[in-house]
């Protein structure tokens, strides 16, 4: 590691003892990055920034929130009405959750399109899936805290998933609740977890970055970095590109916060939790809908639960299910189409998840549509991915990133 040489004696003094400047230089300033990253590569840093926004707004909300079933709903409304800028903190936090998932989903689909999970980045991908899992747990428990009808019944339904396991199921559920239904102990512990898990999330994100910085970013061509000419320093090129992307994203985010703050929410959750009445139509938050559709696709309690967990966990083994040596979909004509079909299938699963199983689409019940889409979801991973790698005729890969960038530059000049 080349140590920082600074003319500032204080900087030098600190760096000799604790090389933070050297560290920053290596990992942010001069960090070598492929020259050809496109805007899809913005979403990683965006996710990090939203995580920070969620942490800060969450910490300040927690200073006014009361995790008790009797007063939780009122304390949230008090934050919005009486706490100075409480409405801003709350709406940043609630909309921030949706933004976080939008960004992370794009980040994940980008990884799938460009084969970012393939060797030598398998662990990087798996750590990412872990981040996603922790996010889901955190988001779920956060949604319970306002203690509206959707909070309560969402908590009831999701925790009951665990009752599907034979013999121990009921004990697990009682253990999670701390009682015989979702009640005072449940909201209290969910609040603690909701506050704790993001700290864990931060640590896992650090590990994610650590793994990233070993082999550096993948790139749209999906080819390895060969010479220093393929790279350029992260700063100023990608700092400015990320900041510009951040600016655009903040416009999108702030529109919802200030002008449509309840867009992603359910009106039902403004009705205080009532253990005696289940709302006529309960749905999870939009980011869980595809998995909700998978859950309901099989008419077996344990089967549905296992299938739903499998739907998430299968992502862990994706690097080994994909047998193709070529990373980027740009050079895999069939996979490219399969990818988009898979993407649409995920959206479709979300659509199915929103509707009641008996709703009709083109004359067929959602239940059956759900079964078809679920089957395709798993077929994509278990059948298409392994086979495609064996039979697909890929396009010839370019020689180097540098060459491709130069080509583009010359094309622009003409």
């Amino acid at each position: 590691m080349k140590r920082t040489q600074s003319s500032n004696r204080l900087v030098q003094w600190i760096d000799d003892r604790l090389p933070i400047f050297t560290y920053a230089d290596h990992n942010v300033i001069a960090y070598p990055t492929p020259k050809n990253l496109n805007y899809w590569w913005n979403y990683g840093s965006l996710a990090g920034i939203i995580l920070v926004i969620m942490l800060v707004t969450g910490i300040f909300l927690a200073m006014n929130y009361q995790p008790h079933a009797d007063v939780a709903f009122a304390s949230v409304e008090r934050i919005v009405r009486d706490v100075n800028y409480g409405w801003l903190l709350r709406y940043l936090h609630t909309n921030g959750a949706s933004m976080f998932f939008i960004v992370v989903y794009i980040h994940m689909f980008r990884g799938m399109y460009y084969g970012s999970y393939k060797a030598p980045r398998e662990l990087l991908w798996m750590i990412g899936v872990t981040i996603y899992l922790i996010m889901m747990a955190t988001a779920f428990m956060g949604y319970v805290l306002p203690w509206g009808q959707m909070s309560f019944w969402g908590a009831t339904v999701i925790t009951n998933l665990f009752s599907a396991f034979p013999w121990v199921g009921d004990y697990i559920v009682t253990w999670i609740w701390g009682g015989f239904s979702v009640d005072v102990p449940t909201i209290n512990r969910f609040f603690v977890w909701h506050y704790l898990l993001p700290m864990v999330l931060v640590m896992v994100v650090v590990i994610h970055l650590w793994a990233l910085h070993v082999h550096k970013s993948n790139n749209p061509l999906g080819i390895d970095i060969k010479t220093p000419q393929d790279m350029m320093p992260f700063h100023p090129f990608y700092t400015i590109k990320d900041l510009f992307g951040l600016g655009l994203f903040m416009i999108f985010f702030m529109y919802f916060v200030f002008f449509n703050p309840n867009f992603f929410g359910e009106p039902e959750n403004y009705i205080p939790a009532n253990p005696m009445v289940t709302p006529p139509h309960i749905v999870p938050e939009w980011y869980f809908l595809p998995f909700y559709a998978i859950l309901r696709a099989v008419e077996s309690k344990l089967g549905g639960v296992l299938l739903m967990f499998a739907g998430v966990l299968i992502l862990y083994v994706l690097p080994w299910l994909d047998t193709s040596k070529v990373r980027s979909a740009t050079y895999r004509p069939i996979y490219k189409q399969m990818f988009w079909i898979f993407f649409l299938n995920c959206i479709f699963l979300g659509y199915i998840g929103f509707h009641a199983p008996t709703d009709l689409l083109l004359g067929m019940e959602m239940l059956y549509w759900g079964q078809i889409a679920t089957a395709y979801y798993f077929a994509h991973f278990l059948i298409l991915m392994p086979l495609l790698g064996k039979f697909e005729k890929t396009k010839p890969l370019p020689n180097s990133i540098f060459e491709e960038v130069s080509k583009k530059c010359r094309a622009k000049e003409d």
């Binding site: 920082t4 230089d25 300040f60 706490v83 100075n84 800028y85 409480g86 900041l243």
Partner: protein, 182 residues
Amino acid sequence: MTDNPTNTAEGVDAPRRDFLLISTTTLGVAGVAMAAWPFIHSINPAKDVLALASTEVDLSAIEEGMAITVLWRGKPVFIRHRTAEEIKAAEDVDVADLRDPQSDADRVQKPQWLVAIGVCTHLGCIPAGQAIGDVKGEYDGWYCPCHGSHYDTSGRIRKGPAPFNLPIPPYTFTEESMIVIG
């Protein structure tokens, strides 16, 4: 840090780039700084806390020479029904000699009623002197047990480390012997 490649092109197009860079950075930093305010302000007293600011007290039951303590905004308020002697002691003090000069007339609305916030201006303990048999200090008012501040019958600091007199809360007489604090 100084020789990082940010400055690569500096020699050629410096002036224009500098202007853009400096103004963008300034605008961005200013925005982040302003965004801090809602967070800082959010932990100031909320609107409902500010609104809960008045306490009504009936004084008719307090006999001469007795005192009661009531809670206002989470702090004790001393209300003492002063005897003629105590009033005289408070009025006879030469204001110029006091650490925190204030005449007794400025501190009471009706001479027999002293209403003061019972929190020592030194470090926030509650001075003794309300109950019968309490140590009232050298000036027969209040004595703070934490660090030995003595207050007189007008609640003024006379001896000890406290810098100021016991503060007087805003209050009004709604009836002959009824006050609203706050």
